[in-house]
Symmetry: C2
Subunit: 236 residues, 2 copies
DNA sequence: TCCTCGTAATTTACGAATTAATATTGACAC
DNA sequence: GTGTCAATATTAATTCGTAAATTACGAGGA
């Protein structure tokens, strides 16, 4: 099973119910506006009322369902779901039915946020942030297998967001990481020879030089290349 | 009390506990890493274990706390909090101790996302989206009091994000709206004569003309003016 | 010094009772 | 005869007190 659940940690029996119910709602098995029959669910899963209840409470917190006395527990309209929640992002992609549209949107957001983040990082990066970027860079250079390469890539982009000094931007790392992991997964299979080091180094050096324009440009180029690779792979 | 809680709806007794605990944690009354004594809390608030438990379950879902058997329930480090959650944003600003830093960061994110959103909207806006923008525009023009003006402003920016056709961007309306509401609250007191219509109309017409460059530029100018106003007011 | 097992403390789960909101039905007025 | 308002019955969420499961820590032995 999933060992390192970085996001919202839901342990125990009811944690499994949360996953199951979330999957059912996100996949559309239980459609928007449908009422959830709690006693039936209780019987189906063979657990107590409290366990189901606590699971639904978590889903309520994420905007997926809404419980009203006497009327029942409903699935809220999709517009009310907290798609920016780390768990929600994870649930979206952990299941078999990957959603191509959401993946596209994810890359689009990445294309908006990361160049701006690079610009801000160039202006405000502290020594500690540069150090983190250097470490990620070194790991990327010395990576031998795919796993290490992807980890280093993730670490770099995480450090970049942190270097902006903006907490809200830093929180968007979940979006960046999912998009990045998707790209890596696809591209590394087809173009294993591709070297991500030069493009990342250009970003890093621009940040170190406190040159916001160059940093933004370098990041745009990095993303353009990533998009190109992705397009190439999709075509094939 | 709060009547229209747009975000995650937590009704009943335990909903109040959620608010109380969230405020205590966000304000730092209960510091990061502190253990929450559940029996004490139960006694303090005079409610049952289940009520407290369900409240903590919601906070767990938002990354605020983590419960481990035998060790207790802890406040998680700030880096794990889901600041992008609508409830979290609301709780941050509903209390007396407004956080100037987070407000600054909010405006920064707005400055990154909204111009890009305007650009995308110019490319992809459907008729229904343009209609929504028109309605907001008309409401802005005919607004007589501050309340109506702010509502129209919010509606416009919400419609703009929706017009991008990107669900993730649309979800960032919470951030945009909070920043916008803050600006309006401050500025309208000092410069009530200020007319927001022309700048918004320029954005709208650029979108209608499907001119992404003009739309992005118009939005940048709108935000620059907003930032200028804010700076002016802060100085005074 | 390291491994194993027992104990204590705390979360987690259960089933019953309570509370609250809605729909239905009846009566009264128009 | 019809429409509106109020009281009541019904239904599902909410809350409660208690029992069970889990796991970290410490003691004892190899």
């Amino acid at each position: 099973m999933r060992e390192s659940s970085v996001a919202g940690i839901q342990r125990g029996l009811h944690g499994q119910i949360v996953e199951v119910m979330a999957q059912r709602i996100l996949s559309g098995t239980i459609p928007e506006g449908a009422t959830i029959n709690v006693p039936d669910l209780q019987a189906d899963l063979g657990v107590s009322l409290t366990a189901v209840r606590e699971a639904l409470k978590v889903l309520t917190a994420k905007g997926l369902v809404d419980a009203r006395q006497k009327r029942g527990t409903f699935v809220r309209p999709r517009t009310d779901w907290n798609l920016l929640d780390p768990d929600m992002i994870r649930w979206h992609f952990s299941d078999s039915d990957v959603r191509p549209e959401l993946l596209e949107e994810l890359h689009e957001v990445r294309g908006i946020v990361e160049p701006a983040a690079a610009r801000l990082a160039a202006v405000r990066a502290q020594d500690s942030h540069l150090e983190a970027l250097d470490i990620a860079m070194a790991a990327m250079e010395s990576a031998t297998d795919d796993l290490a390469a992807v980890a280093a890539d993730l670490a770099f982009h995480r450090a970049l967001l942190a270097a902006t000094g903006n907490e809200l931007l830093t929180k968007m790392e979940v979006i960046m990481e999912t998009g990045l992991a998707d790209r890596d997964r696809l591209v590394h299979k087809v173009k294993p020879s591709d070297d991500p080091v030069p493009s990342h180094r250009r970003v890093l050096e621009a940040i170190r030089a406190h040159d916001p324009v160059a940093a933004e440009q370098a990041m745009k180029e990095l993303l353009a290349k990533a998009a190109e690779d992705l397009h190439e792979v999709r075509g094939a």
